[in-house]
């Protein structure tokens, strides 16, 4: 949990900025749906 500060005020939504460092190779990126490992959040079967 974060408190409001001069960079973040109340009643506003914030998504942190991505900082590019490395990327996957093109074919692996295509197969995963992103070339950025830090943005890869794959499907998991939950319940049902």
């Amino acid at each position: 949990m974060f408190a409001a500060n001069e960079r973040m005020r109340l009643a506003r939504a914030y998504v942190p900025f991505q900082i590019f460092s490395k990327r996957l190779d093109p074919m692996e990126g295509l197969m995963k749906g992103t070339i950025f490992p830090e943005l890869y959040f794959p499907y998991r079967r939950h319940k049902r």
């Binding site: 093109p26 990126g29 070339i35």
Partner: protein
Amino acid sequence: MNREQLNMLKELMAVQFTVLELHLYLDTHPTDQKALMEYNSMVHQLEVLKQQYQQRYGPLTWGEPSAYPWQWINEPWPWEICYE
């Protein structure tokens, strides 16, 4: 579509996807020099692959030269290809 063409097409998809990802990233990070360099080098790779593919299999898009007869309408269209 034969194996060779399919492999080339997938390679093209992969490199183009990398360009797209860097492109979207740069939209919100226009001053990221590292990403921009990466983008420019991938654009170059994509250009080479596209030219190779089009020379062998005909135009992928509007405004490309065509052998006789008009190659654009050649089948298969993208939804007709078996990508196995």
